[in-house]
């Protein structure tokens, strides 16, 4: 006889506190919740005192806004007042149309769409800060592009966004999602981990695979600094969105192929937290170090300052 599950007790619980992904997985087991998405729908519903239908409807609004930012970013070449962002997505589009892709159209489309979404943010478009505005291109660019490429049903795409949000929540609880606290590893690194896990969840309910994808994506960018030129969310931010998107797709592929992480996801996040604390503040969004301190960046920053009215 199997051990009775505590599903009946679930209704009694008012709040759910977790310390990380391992807690979430333990509670899924305990309460017999089959999917990570289902767990985080319940988590949000209980903690925010909202009916699950309301939680789902809010996420649908987020999904619509992400599709909106892709559309907006692909409408016309995106240019910023500084001139540093100058139609990257449009260039990629022409390249794909001209059969130039080295890696196949779907992969190149991930690159193009991530550029479009991240450039739309730089150009004051309407975006979803998931997890932050600076890394807002990754989920639309990689997650939605792959999901749509595989004709995944809308409901399943919606569920995957809860996996993304749940992974982000686990990072926020144990470390930070903010570039000014932990550098770009916390922004694009987290976006990549969220996206990788969400991608796997579209095709597999193997919790080991979902966790491994998130761990792979984050492990590979530990220590990544936040060093925006002239303090603007343009360079290197937009291309780092592309890096995170491509990294997320590769991480999801490895996990779906059966490769498993040796270091559990929560420990990777804790490592990120320690690294973030060790990083000099000059590498955490202050534009005092890294690329922002190169002679070219210093010259661009000075020119941009002169341009101001």
């Amino acid at each position: 006889m199997s051990v009775p599950k505590k599903t009946e007790e679930l209704d009694e619980i008012k709040r759910i506190r977790i310390h990380g992904l391992s807690d979430a997985r333990r509670l899924m087991e305990e309460y017999d919740i089959p999917t990570l998405a289902g767990f985080f729908v319940m988590y949000e519903s209980k903690n925010q005192e909202l009916p699950e239908s309301e939680v789902l409807s809010r996420m649908r609004t987020i999904l619509d806004a992400m599709r909106g930012t892709l559309r907006e970013g692909l409408e016309h070449p995106n240019r910023t007042p500084s001139g540093m962002i100058d139609g990257g997505a449009a260039h990629m589009d022409a390249f794909i149309q001209g059969d130039g892709s080295l890696v196949g159209n779907q992969f190149s489309t991930v690159i193009r769409n991530t550029l479009a979404a991240a450039e739309n943010n730089a150009c004051m478009g309407r975006i979803v800060a998931a997890p932050t505005a600076g890394a807002s291109g990754v989920l639309p660019g990689a997650y939605l592009t792959i999901a749509d490429g595989h004709h995944v049903a809308e409901e399943r795409i919606l569920q995957g966004l809860f996996v993304a949000g749940g992974i982000g929540e686990c990072i926020a609880i144990q470390a930070s999602l903010s570039g000014s606290q932990h550098g770009c590893q916390a922004e694009n690194g987290s976006a990549g981990a969220m996206t990788a896990a969400a991608l796997v969840s579209l095709f597999s309910e193997d919790q080991e695979a979902i966790e491994s994808a998130a761990a792979f994506a984050l492990k590979s960018v530990l220590g990544l600094v936040c060093d925006p030129i002239a303090g603007l969310v343009e360079i290197p931010c937009v291309k780092r969105n592309v890096m995170a998107a491509v990294n997320a797709v590769a991480s999801a592929e490895m996990a779906l192929a059966g490769i498993r992480t040796v270091i559990p996801f929560d420990e990777v996040v804790q490592a990120m937290d320690h690294i973030g604390r060790d990083m000099s503040s000059s590498l955490k969004e202050t534009s005092l170090g890294g690329l922002a301190a190169t002679p070219t960046a210093v010259r661009i920053a000075a020119e941009f300052k002169r341009m101001r009215p």
Binding site: F40, Y43, E44, N47, Q48, V55, S57, R58, M59, T61, I62, D64, A65, T80, P81, S82, N120, N121, A122, C123, M124, G125, R126, I127, V128, A129, A130, P131, T132, A133, G134, S136, L161, F162, A164, G165, G166, G168, E169, A172, I173, L177, S178, S180, M194, A230, G231, L232, V233, E234, S287, F304, K305, R308
Partner: protein, 230 residues
């Protein structure tokens, strides 16, 4: 945190602190002012001044002052919107190490520049903001509470009038701050309320002969940081 803090907010880019936060400061400032905006002088301090232009901080704060939400694409056109509404706008940039890195001060005046009303706000990260000054008085509130502002002649018993009426209506005061302006003899009460202050109660306070002004602001939450389409 919550899942929708990670997956959101929906906002106009590029920066939660320098764009969404700036819009929210502008929005709260005009709500605190509580009168139609005719002329406004905005000072962007420190990082808001240094990188504000590239982040659209000026457009965002002006958009907020014109009542636009953090995700309203019209923020990009806020200068035009202010001009169409006949609002005079002056921007200034300043460096002041005494102030928060992301700080803005908004001064509302009559069309002829009289009767200044000054609101100072800071953007503390992730789109969260605080209003830290009103007409030189140190304050501390965000859009996360229901707020009641009452300005009145500084006479004994006013707190009892306010507290009694709120209590009778079952409205709990979570936090209150009172302060006095020595020059004018006027006083201001700021209250954070667990429930919103209804309009008729605000009118009741206005009818008190000692009261000069009443402003209520309901918790911004999702109606402002929209998670649902209109």
């Amino acid at each position: 945190m919550a899942i929708f803090d990670v997956m959101g907010p929906i906002m106009i880019g590029p920066s939660s602190s320098h764009t969404a936060g700036a819009a929210k400061i502008g929005y709260l400032a005009q709500r605190v002012y509580g009168k139609p905006v005719r002329r406004v002088h905005i000072i962007l301090y420190n990082s808001f001044a240094e990188t504000g232009q590239g982040h659209g901080t000026d457009k965002a704060i002006l958009g907020g002052i014109m009542g636009l939400r953090v995700d309203d694409p019209l923020i990009k056109r806020s200068y035009d919107i202010a001009a169409e509404a006949g609002v005079d706008v002056v921007f200034e940039e300043a460096i002041d190490p005494e102030k928060h890195p992301n700080c803005a001060s908004v001064t509302f005046t009559d069309p002829d520049g009289d009767h200044p009303f000054v609101v100072e706000g800071i953007s503390v990260g992730g789109g969260s903001v605080k209003i830290v000054g009103i007409n030189g008085v140190r304050v501390d509130f965000s859009g996360k509470h229901n707020l009641l502002f009452v300005t009145y002649r500084d006479v004994p018993g006013m707190m009892a009038v306010l507290g009694d009426a709120l209590g009778t209506r079952g409205i709990n005061v979570a936090y209150a701050q009172i302060s006095r302006d020595k020059n004018t003899g006027g006083a201001m009460a700021i209250m954070k309320l667990d429930q919103p202050c209804p309009d008729d109660l605000a009118d009741y306070f206005r009818s008190n002969k000692g009261v000069t002004d009443v402003v209520t602001i309901n918790k911004l939450g999702n109606e402002y940081e929209r998670t649902e389409e209109d």
